[in-house]
């Protein structure tokens, strides 16, 4: 991994403002499909949500699955995506 690892990280993507993949690694190595879906999600979500309903803007978008999650952040006009493995609680 090129970047500092995040707990449970299995892959990462960095996109530019137009959604093109800049860097990638791990599970998401050159995963343009996931990149396109998540980039579309943060652009479409803005059109669908009413800004008056929220007093502050969002810092992080998480797409949760049963055993993993995609975490999306925006920094320096680049979209950072990290795939994280969920720690399943032992029942």
């Amino acid at each position: 991994m090129d970047r500092p690892s995040i707990p449970g990280q299995t892959g990462y993507l960095t996109l530019n403002s137009e959604g093109a993949v800049l860097t990638s690694g791990g599970d998401l190595h050159n995963d343009e499909k996931t990149a396109g879906i998540l980039h579309g999600l943060i652009t479409v979500a803005q059109d669908r949500l009413d800004p008056k309903a929220f007093k502050q803007s969002f810092k992080r978008l998480t797409v949760m699955f049963d055993d993993h999650a995609y975490v999306v952040c925006l920094s320096n006009r680049k979209t950072h995506i990290v795939k994280r493995q969920l720690v399943v609680p032992v029942n």
């Binding site: 995040i6 803005q46 059109d47 810092k59 978008l61 949760m64 999650a69 925006l74 979209t79 950072h80």
Partner: protein, 175 residues
């Protein structure tokens, strides 16, 4: 086509003294053709000015017509040359184009603004910190799931209770 052209030129040889070869001009020079007429007119003009007023106007109109025809046939290459821009012309153009761009930007601000700001997330300085922070807890996830399920069920339960006719005679009793 070639035959027609050569025959035409041979007919005109006596008048225009043209010998069609590879250097013959395809376009007839209107200025050289009109020089004779113009000279004759200008030579006769002083005598006609004094005694013949209607003819003078005719001459003038003919001259004007020749001038106009010449002007339409002439292509001013020097005026078409746009590469030799002077500095002040260049600055003027920059100013004009900037004004036009600003005009387009202001008129399309709504469209461009949504394109530029169509990202849900706000720009944060340290993405690693945000990405590494704890994910949403399972309790919160369950709460959201249950709420969405309840909302979905509620939406699916919406029914139209039909009580009255949709189409009713309106205002017929007044007539």
């Amino acid at each position: 086509m070639g035959c027609c052209w050569s025959l035409f030129c041979k007919d005109d040889n006596s008048l225009q003294n043209c010998e069609p070869n590879e250097r013959t001009h395809l376009l007839v020079d209107p200025v050289s053709n009109n020089i004779n007429i113009q000279r004759v007119n200008s030579d006769d003009l002083p005598s006609r000015l004094s005694n013949d007023l209607p003819k003078k106007t005719d001459e003038q109109s003919a001259l004007t017509r020749i001038l106009q025809e010449t002007a339409t046939n002439v292509i001013d290459v020097a005026a078409l040359d746009t590469h030799n821009l002077q500095q002040h012309e260049y600055l003027e153009r920059v100013k004009t184009y900037n004004i036009k761009v600003q005009h387009v930007l202001t008129s399309n601000r709504a469209v461009l603004g949504t394109k530029l700001k169509s990202c849900l997330l706000q720009d944060i300085p340290q993405p690693e910190k945000c990405l590494a922070s704890d994910l949403i807890g399972s309790e919160d996830t369950n709460l959201v799931s249950q709420s969405v399920d309840a909302a979905l069920n509620a939406v699916n339960d919406i029914k139209v209770d039909h009580k009255e006719d949709l189409v009713v005679p309106f205002g017929l009793g007044l007539n």
